[in-house]
């Protein structure tokens, strides 16, 4: 992984990917199911950033549609997850 001629954007891309991977630990460790959903929403917002930076590196506008789709459908999936989760999980702690 030659750091010599990597542009700033590529470094930022690597850094944010690292953060996303670190957030997985929260999803694994999360004591309750709610921490897992929290970790999931953090990772999905990070992935949106990764796509935005990637499309800026490629200098192409249509990749941002994918980022918009990510936010919308990540939100939709999570809303369903949360609403149906709340009904059934009677947490003790």
């Amino acid at each position: 992984m030659s750091l010599f001629y990597m542009s700033l954007l590529e470094i930022i891309l690597w850094v944010i990917l690292l953060f996303a991977i670190v957030c997985v630990i929260r999803v694994i460790k999360g004591p309750t199911i709610w921490d897992r959903v929290l970790g999931f929403s953090i990772i999905s917002s990070k992935l949106v950033l990764i796509i935005a930076i990637f499309s800026s590196m490629r200098n192409t506008a249509y990749l941002l549609d994918l980022a918009i789709i990510y936010t919308l459908f990540g939100f939709l999936g999570e809303i369903f997850l949360i609403t149906f989760l709340s009904k059934n999980v009677k947490e003790r702690g």
Partner: protein
């Protein structure tokens, strides 16, 4: 860069395997398929990334609705334990034997991996001649609407059959519109507010995707899925079940017949093949736009019926 994302995806998939609770398994599946769709983007295919992103959201919604209705997450654990304890198998038969068999097959698989170099015969042809033969900038759109439109017809047919199959195989025959379950979002004003904003944006964005399917990434299927998600938001906002499933089904079938006739008229009589392609660029763009539009509407109708079937009727 792509290999790190892929190993991240593999890591999430391993976690899907070793989850006890079913809901966290579905959460991990949603996470792994979102990262997979990011991986598709890095592999150079935005179309498939969009399709995978929308597909993962839909599959999760279908799983949650089906899964939530039968056994709440809480009593699922003991349900599973009690289920297994009744016919408890010894550890050998349960874990070690399948692990051994899969490992041996994996080793055999690896032993016989083909080493032949990749042959890019069709790839070069497509990249060279796609935009002149079928028109439009998106080569992927040109392939599945121009060269392999025979596949796309059966693709749309498969969606039509899936809807018919879901209606026929469900426990309830006929359509019970009135006694659908109430959606829980109602009592929360703020999330209602968000869904009220997001819904029109998704449908506009879906139409945008359908419209320039041939120019940029996206197309009939992804746009149709986005438009279908509008109807889910509509169910969440107003929690009404007034979608006339029979009429939408009829609309879907008529559009499918229109797709087949359109494809057979324009493409299969060599309209593109024989007449010199550069002679009619306008006709090509119009054809691609109409085909994307028809497939988009058809996919939207199909998936609305599917999800309405689950959300409104299967849940009680």
């Amino acid at each position: 860069m792509t290999t790190t994302i892929m190993s991240f995806w593999l890591f999430c998939n391993i976690f899907v395997l070793f989850q006890k609770k079913l809901l966290s398994m579905i959460l991990w599946l949603f996470l792994s398929s979102i990262i997979a769709s990011l991986g598709f983007l890095f592999l150079g295919s935005p179309d498939v990334a969009m399709a995978e992103a929308t597909a993962s959201a839909f599959v999760t919604i279908i799983f949650i609705v089906c899964f939530e209705n039968f056994f709440g997450i809480k009593n699922l654990q003991n349900f599973i334990e009690e289920e297994n304890s009744k016919t408890r198998e010894n550890i050998f038969k349960k874990i070690i034997l399948p692990a051994f068999v899969v490992l041996c097959t994996f080793a055999l698989f690896m032993n016989f991996l083909p080493q032949a170099p990749q042959d890019t015969y069709l790839k070069n042809l497509y990249i060279l001649r796609a935009s002149t033969d079928v028109g439009g900038q998106n080569v992927v759109g040109a392939i599945y609407l121009g060269y392999r439109v025979y596949d796309t017809i059966f693709e749309a047919l498969l969606l039509l059959i899936a809807v018919v199959a879901v209606v026929h195989l469900s426990h309830f025959d006929g359509v019970y519109k009135k006694d659908g379950k109430q959606s829980e979002v109602k009592n929360n004003a703020i999330s209602l507010f968000t869904v009220r904003i997001v819904a029109p944006i998704t449908v506009l964005f879906g139409i945008y995707l359908i419209a320039n399917g041939a120019i940029t990434a996206g197309g009939g299927f992804q746009g149709g899925l986005a438009v279908a998600s509008f109807f889910i938001c509509r169910f969440l906002i107003f929690d009404i079940y007034d979608i006339p499933i029979k009429k939408v089904n009829k609309l879907e079938d008529t559009i499918f017949v229109a797709v087949v006739i359109m494809a057979s008229l324009m493409v299969f009589h060599g309209f593109f093949g024989e007449i010199p392609p550069n002679y009619l660029p306008i006709a090509q763009n119009i054809y691609l736009f109409i085909m994307n539009l028809l497939i988009g509407i058809k996919v939207a109708c199909g998936f609305t019926i599917l999800l309405y079937r689950y959300v409104a009727i299967e849940r009680n």
